[in-house]
Symmetry: C2
Subunit: 232 residues, 2 copies
DNA sequence: CACTGTTGTTAGAGGTTCTAACAGAAGTTA
DNA sequence: TAACTTCTGTTAGAACCTCTAACAACAGTG
C-alpha cells in the first residue's frame, strides 16, 4: 500500500501553492509569482516549496496546464449544454463560453495566449489539453462538403494535423472554418484582455458578437458594410 | 545656448541602452531585460543607468513607445508605396507590411500586443502612435455608404472614437471594417508569434493570407466553405 | 526498535531593483 | 582664470528574488 495519506497531503500543499500563485498572477502578472512569497504566505520558508516544484518554471507550467484543462472543460460544457440546438446556436454558445472564460479571468487567458514564457515548449499532455477546446469547436460546426477549402498546401496541413489528433474524418473545409473562427474570436479577446480597447472607448463585447455572427452568417452581412471590393 | 553636446551624448547613451535591451528582449523576453546587465555590457556600473531612466519600467515604456512608432512607420510606408493602386491591393500591402513587421521581430510585436506590463497605462503620446497604424489602415479602405454598420451602440462608440482622433469624417461602416480587419489580422499573428501553430504543423502565412483575402472579398468565398448556416 | 524516505529548517551564493552619499568632470558665468 | 552649478559616474547597502547544500525532525515500514 502506497502511503495515500502523504500523497493527499502533498496534493493539498501543491494545490494551495497554485491557488496563491493564481492570486499573484491576477495581481501582478507572471512576474509577480514568487515561490518565496507563496511559501511565506503558507507559513513555511522559501526552500520548502522546492520539495513540491522543481523550480519556479515547473510551477508556472502546472498553472498553464491547469488553465488549458479548465478552458477545455468550459468549452465542452457549453457544447454539451447546447446539444440538440442548431449549429448556429451552438456556435454562439461556444463563443459566449469562450469569451466568458477569458474576461472573467484575463490573467489566465493571457497565460495561455499572451506572451509565452521564454523557452517554453508545451509538453505533449498540455498540447492535448489545448486541443480539446478546438475539438469542442469542431463538434458544433456543420459538416459540409469535402471540396477544397483553401490553398491545397493549407488543406493538407489541416488534414494532417486533424489526423494526428484523432479527427481524421473532419473535412478540410470544416477544419479551416474552425481555425478561422478561433483566430477571429481570439483576435477580439486578445485585444480586449490586453486592454487595447480601453483608450478607444469601444465595447469589445459588441465587436466580439459581431464576429461570432459573421462566422454564422458566412459573413453575408459583409455585402452591407464589411466587403472591401465593391460591385463596380 | 543649451548644451547640445551633453544632449547628444545623453541621447546616444539612452539609444545604446535600449539597443541592448532589445537584444535581451529577443533572447529572454521582458523578464530578461535587466538594467544591471545592460549597464555592465555598456562598461558602467548598474546605478549609472538610473541617470538616464527613472527605473526599469521607464525603460520598458520607452521600448513600447519606440515599437509603436516603428510599426506605424512601417504601415504608413506600405500605404504610401501603394498609392494609386486599387483598394484591395492596398489592403494586401498593408497586411503584408503588418505581418512582416510582426514575424521579423516577434518579441516587439508581443511587447505591444502580448501580455501587458502589470499596471501599465499607455500615456497619451503612445496612444497617438498606436493610432497611426489604425489610421494607415483606414486610409486604404474604400469609403462606402453611411448606412448603419453594426449595433447602433457600437456605431456610436466607433464614431466617438474616430472623432476624438481627428477622423470624424470616416463613416461608421468603414470604422467597423477597419476594426474587424485589425482584430482578424491580429488574431492570426498573435497565435503565430506566440507559437501556437507550432505543434499543429500549420503554416500561419497561408491562414493569414486567407484572412486578408476574406476581408477583401467581403468573405464571398464564405459561401463555399466558411459559411456556417446553410441555405436550408 | 531500527531503517528509510519525506519534509522542513538554516546558511549562503549570486542575481535583481533602486536609493543615498560622495567624487569628479563638464559647462557656465563673473 | 576662478568660482559656481549641473551632470555623470562611483561605492555601499537595503530588500527582494531563485535555487542548492547540509542538516534535523518527522512519518511510515519491516
Amino acid at each position: 500500500m502506497v502511503n495515500v495519506r502523504r500523497e493527499r497531503y502533498r496534493e493539498d500543499t501543491k494545490a494551495e501553492a497554485k491557488r496563491i500563485a493564481l492570486e499573484q498572477l491576477a495581481e501582478l502578472g507572471v512576474a509577480g509569482i514568487s515561490v518565496n512569497a507563496i511559501a511565506k504566505r503558507m507559513g513555511v520558508t522559501g526552500p520548502a516549496l522546492y520539495r513540491y516544484f522543481k523550480g519556479r518554471d515547473d510551477l508556472l507550467n502546472e498553472l498553464i496546464r491547469d488553465a488549458w484543462r479548465d478552458l477545455a472543460e468550459a468549452a465542452e460544457a457549453a457544447v454539451a449544454a447546447s446539444a440538440g440546438e442548431s449549429s448556429p446556436d451552438r456556435v454562439r454558445a461556444f463563443g459566449e463560453a469562450f469569451r466568458t472564460w477569458a474576461v472573467t479571468q484575463p490573467h489566465r487567458y493571457l497565460l495561455l495566449f499572451g506572451t509565452p514564457l521564454p523557452g517554453y515548449h508545451a509538453p505533449e499532455d498540455t498540447v492535448l489539453l489545448a486541443h480539446r477546446t478546438m475539438s469542442a469547436l469542431l463538434g458544433v460546426l456543420p459538416r459540409e462538403g469535402g471540396a477544397a477549402a483553401g490553398p491545397s498546401t493549407l488543406d493538407d496541413q489541416l488534414v494532417a494535423w486533424a489526423g494526428s489528433r484523432g479527427e481524421g474524418d473532419v473535412p478540410p473545409a470544416v477544419l479551416l472554418t474552425a481555425m478561422r473562427a478561433f483566430t477571429r474570436l481570439h483576435g477580439v479577446l486578445s485585444l480586449e484582455v490586453s486592454g487595447q480597447f480601453g483608450p478607444m472607448g469601444i465595447d469589445p463585447a459588441l465587436l466580439y458578437r459581431a464576429e461570432v455572427e459573421s462566422l454564422i452568417l458566412g459573413d453575408s452581412e459583409a455585402r452591407g458594410s464589411t466587403r472591401l471590393s465593391g460591385p463596380g
